[in-house]
Amino acid sequence: MRVLNLAWRNVFRHRRRTIITAAAISVGLAVMIYMDTMMNGLDNLAAGNIINFETSHLEIFAKGYYREEGLFPLDTIIENPEFILQRIAKIKTIKGVTPRIKFQCRINNGIDELPVLGIGIDIEKESKVFETANTVVRGEYLKNPDDILIGKDLAKDMDLDVGSFLTIITRDRYGTYEAYDFTVSGLINTGHPLLDRNAALMHINIAQRLLSMYGITELCIKTRDDNKLVQLKNEIAGKIGKNFEVYTYKELNAGIFEISGMKRSGQFMLALVVVIIAAVGIINTMLMAVMERIPEIGMLKAMGFGNYNIVKMFIYEGGFIGIFGSLFGCFLGLLASFHLVYYGLDLSHMLENIDIIYPIKFIIKGEINYMIVLGVFIFGVVVSVIVTLWPVRKATKLEPVEALRHV
């Protein structure tokens, strides 16, 4: 019989009270784990969409272009991409490089007109870097010179389908209006709202003709090892010289990843509030335990129990409640997270017509970070033990004679 054993038995004196207190911790921790899983999934999906459809791992621009990227300045383009391709050809970690031209344009179906992002692609090189070719859900990929690929959502908005004719209207490098008639060869459904709702993909040489230019706006690079992205960026930057700029997809989408961090903090704060409420529950439970056991504490002190052993006993009790609550919370959180990992959260209907800034559209599939689960478990137990200290102070201050007299 040890103090630990006594504390263990004490936890079960009032089973219902213990269960309710532990359950409050469980809910807080489960929410923390579930939110983390969702945010991991959200981040991964967003990063995946950016890498697979928008920027790839790295992008090279002519110096000054990125500063004005939102304006798509055609006077700061990469005039001679071959120069760069030669310079980086020997870097083994590069999996693929593809040129792109991005420009502002309007899409016209003869009745309506919408502003979209025109993207000129090199269909041979594109597939080594982007997954766009695999997302054609109707029709086929670009084949003929006047073929154009548009997103399924844009097609719906513009009442277009495979085989429909449309006109792209833009201004060329010199500011002159240009128009070109295309036939919709296929509809894509990437899951990236930019591509599905606001973009039109065409052959790069057609885009160059439309814009009266020979160069490209960017070179997109896919790496074999995205853990060494910054090293690769620096290596490329060193090889291509100061007339060009290299950015990682994280730098190019800093806003999105900042929002992710803010969302995580916000959600953590929310879960923390739940845990604080649970902690108040523990304080209450332990305070009740101390109050109703005052004569018992007096008896233990009369027997020779010092404050050290009394504190130890109550700390163990708080710890046990914390362990139960945290274990069950982790179990609940993991259970809900597994559902999110394997079945996902279908937000496609909800996100159909709203912009949540995140480049996602389909089902959000979670990703469990087991280190966070462990951290959350430890957090739950530590919080339970720490908040026990306050009610225990009362027990330590009790004089045995007063405690024994207590009714």
Partner: protein
């Protein structure tokens, strides 16, 4: 031997002082079976608490085997209680979540004792108080008399030199009270442990070898049989 020298104890309730003990001086020899009797408010429990290092006198001194307990620190008092004293309370004060065995084992938690010896001691004392068949019962599965036997076993398991019992028969019927007192008397004779009771139960006074009668915090009479 316990020696009380001119003990005074005042309790302050608000601004009013209530004298509980007013100049108690007496000696209790080792192995005595002594009852401190008197009406409610006469100072019996206060005197017992002071002897048991649970309370301190306002004035005067208590010497146990020539050691002044009024000079001991809180820690030293706890240590003294742990090693030398056993307590039996009116309301038994057993820990309800523990079995009879575990309740009796409690005081030994604080003493570094090999597990085998601990087990032997607990079983032996439970046999002595006649509870060998109730070892695994919790307090709510035992009668008042059985609970008080567990409390006595708990007080004696560490072989203290003195057992202080505060109204030990107050919550027992006369049959159980008699059995408990016979048991304590038997243990007193066998183990030579000093027993000091506070009581106003006539039965306890019948069993006691010495009766110290208190009234208004003073010794009204001190009779040895």
């Amino acid at each position: 031997m316990v020696e009380m020298i001119d003990l005074y104890k005042d309790y302050k309730v608000g601004k009013v002082l209530f004298p509980a003990l007013r100049g108690i001086s007496l000696k209790i020899e080792d192995g005595e079976f002594t009852a401190i009797a008197g009406p409610s408010g006469s100072g019996k429990t206060t005197l017992l608490n002071i002897i048991g290092c649970l309370d301190i006198p306002t004035k005067g001194d208590v010497l146990i085997d020539d050691t002044s307990i009024t000079t001991l620190s809180t820690k030293e008092k706890a240590e003294f209680r742990k090693n030398e004293l056993g307590f039996v309370f009116q309301t038994f004060n057993l820990i309800p979540v523990l079995t009879a065995y575990e309740n009796v084992e409690m005081p030994l938690i604080l003493v570094n004792m090999p597990a085998e010896e601990k087990k032997e001691r607990v079983i032996s004392i439970l046999e002595e108080v006649g509870l060998e068949e109730f070892v695994h019962r919790k307090s709510n599965e035992m009668s008042g008399g059985q609970q008080q036997r567990v409390a006595i076993a708990r007080a004696l398991v560490k072989k203290p030199s003195m057992v202080l019992a505060d109204e030990p028969t107050a919550n027992l019927d006369s049959v159980n009270a008699k059995e408990i007192l016979s048991l304590m008397k038997e243990l007193n004779e066998k183990k030579k442990t000093t027993f000091i009771f506070s009581t106003h139960d006539q039965l306890v006074m019948e069993f006691a070898e010495r009766i110290i009668y208190l009234r208004d915090g003073k010794i009204a009479s001190d009779k040895k049989k």
